[in-house]
């Protein structure tokens, strides 16, 4: 742009933050796609100036969701991420968290931010994400052709409020700054406008502040810009500017809603990154590690080659059903077997039935689902009745009671009553009833060698007091087996000579 006055110097001109040519556009490669008089062009220009002033061009990442601003990436020569409708704040969150040195700007319209993306903006603000949000509010859906926005003024006609916005039908204009100002985390919330020269200059200052806050590591900053949309409003650009100034500001008062720029404590997102070699330790994957060094008991690994224990443990929630199964699986692993543990699971923290399938096998386990158990540990009567009929003939049932219900006896399985809860009560806690059963099972079947439980105990029992109680319960369970001789049939657990 040559000047014919050689003594003149450019004081305002095309910002270097804009690409010289908008290569991604097919034609008009120096114009924006915005309509004549559109506020987006002004906001983009002010944003470019703020980026330039702060010297953050290389660090800036512009997040452009859907709306008229979708092509922000065509203009600003910064890192650009185009995203889904309304999701800018979620994307910005992730970018900033992983790249804390970047300056992340989410540029959103009113449909994007205040309708479809309401959840994302509220939660990004509430988490205090260190990002800058530019919210261009023109009270209309521009790109899709003039439908009602959440910020559309009362009585305004749009293509989806052809008779005007009626609060009884369409609700009221959504006031984003006021809404976000109810949250504790945001650092800077300001509503500005493009309704006059003065307002435009104030908008420039607010945008610069929102970016500067991020440069300083302060938290969430948002600038809401009341912006003209002459095309959809059906006004000429000057009239639209007047509408912003005189009408929009009556519904959306200008001003600052939060400014803790001076008092907010800068936050640094960077974290300590451990050496790669530390990972196994951090993840608990190293060599089995008992804090006392005694946990890594070596069990002579001489699995019985035909072992195929298909175990169902069942009871009600709180009886330690799943833990009993986990002990078994862990012990089976210690003894050199292939194991699997498959729990029933349910809504957390609610009472109800609970069961798990455990397999301990000399060969790789085909299915972890135990549909034909050869061992059933039934910790209550409903569990006994539920699983008894699925038992493999010759299987073993340990049942938590003094005696077996008459109508359950006589099947081709051995049912041994072990009053595990009562025994555990006498030991001092019903909670170790599962360990009584475990002791009884190991004694009755010999399915695992002595010492196989050591590792499981060390891994799963963290308190010394429980450790002693558990050991006592295991012993009591073993003893109980010998008192119970009322079994209707000899135990014959599938093809395992170690049992019986």
């Amino acid at each position: 742009m040559a000047s014919d006055a050689p003594a003149m110097a450019v004081i305002h001109g095309r910002s270097p933050i804009f690409y010289r040519r908008f290569d991604r556009k097919d034609d008009d490669q120096h114009q924006t796609h915005y309509c004549p008089g559109c506020g987006h062009g002004i906001v983009t220009k002010l944003l470019a100036e703020a980026i330039d002033t702060l010297g953050i061009q290389d660090r800036t990442i512009l997040v452009s969701p859907v709306g008229c601003s979708v092509f922000g990436y065509e203009y600003l020569d910064v890192g650009n991420i185009q995203v889904a409708h309304g999701r800018g704040p979620a994307v910005a969150t992730a970018v900033k968290r992983s790249r804390p040195d970047s300056i992340v700007v989410s540029y959103q319209g009113d449909g994007d931010l205040a309708a479809i993306g309401t959840a994302e903006i509220v939660h990004a603000a509430n988490r205090g994400e260190i990002v800058s949000v530019i919210f261009v509010n023109n009270a209309i859906y521009g790109m899709t052709g003039g439908q009602m926005a959440p910020t559309t003024l009362l009585r305004e006609k749009t293509t989806t409020t052809p008779l005007g916005r009626d609060p009884a039908v369409h609700g009221y204009p959504l006031k984003v700054c006021e809404l976000l100002a109810t949250l504790d985390a945001p650092v800077f919330l300001e509503r500005v406008a493009l309704g006059s020269n003065k307002q435009i200059m104030a908008t420039g200052r607010a945008l610069r502040r929102a970016l500067e806050n991020q440069v300083h590591g302060l938290g969430f900053s948002l600038v809401e810009v009341l912006s003209p949309c002459p095309t959809i409003w059906g006004l000429d650009p000057a009239e639209a500017q007047t509408f912003v100034r005189e009408t929009m500001t009556r519904t959306f008062p200008l001003g600052n809603f939060r400014d803790r720029s001076a008092s907010a404590v800068p936050r640094r997102l960077a974290v300590t990154v451990p050496d790669l070699g530390e990972l196994p330790r951090i993840l608990g994957l190293g060599p089995a590690s008992g804090a006392d060094g005694a946990s890594d008991t070596v069990v002579p690994a001489s699995p019985v080659p035909t072992a195929d224990h298909r175990i169902v443990v069942a009871g009600f929630g709180g009886q330690g059903v799943l833990l009993l199964g986990e002990f078994l699986a862990e012990a089976g692993l210690s003894a050199g077997y292939h194991v699997s543990w498959l729990p029933s699971y349910g809504p957390q923290m609610r009472s109800g039935t609970s069961n798990c399938h455990v397999r301990i096998s000399a060969v790789p386990i085909d299915s972890p689902v135990v549909s034909r158990p050869n061992v059933l540990i039934a910790l209550n009567e409903p569990s006994l009745r539920k699983f008894l009929l699925s038992m493999e003939p010759g299987g073993l049932v340990l049942y938590n009671a003094d005696r077996v219900p008459v109508d359950c006896a006589g099947n081709d399985v051995r049912i041994t009553p072990i009053a595990s809860t009562a025994i555990a009560d006498r030991l001092g806690s019903a909670k170790v009833g599962n360990m009584v059963m475990l002791g009884a099972l190991l004694e009755a079947t010999g399915m695992l060698p002595d010492g196989a439980l050591d590792r499981a105990l060390h891994r799963l029992v963290t308190q010394e007091s429980w450790y002693e109680l558990d050991r006592a319960a295991l012993q009591a369970g073993r003893a109980a087996v010998h008192r119970m001789t009322a079994a209707p049939a000899e135990p014959s657990l599938a093809r395992d000579p170690a049992m019986g």
Binding site: A7, I11, P36
Partner: protein
């Protein structure tokens, strides 16, 4: 008016201008107008009357286009 004594001047990229007229409305010394001519896109672009610019920069800020308007200021000799 004496061009040589103006504090500033405005250069308008007539093919970037969309003729919205915001600069014409905003200009305090009223030295901008929409041209009677059409640019290649069919808009009446803004044009500088040729003198009277104070280099206030307001037209630059109200212009929605990145490079539609350039404002120059006379350097102090």
């Amino acid at each position: 008016m004496d061009v040589a004594r103006d504090r500033g001047a405005v250069a308008i990229d007539r093919d970037e201008c969309k003729g919205c007229g915001l600069c014409v409305e905003a200009c305090p010394p009223r030295v901008l107008r929409l041209s009677a001519e059409l640019n290649r896109y069919g808009y009446h672009p803004a044009e500088y009357l040729g003198s009277g610019c104070t280099a206030c920069g307001i037209c630059y800020y109200v212009c929605p286009e990145p490079g539609g308007i350039t404002v120059l200021r006379r350097q102090v000799a």
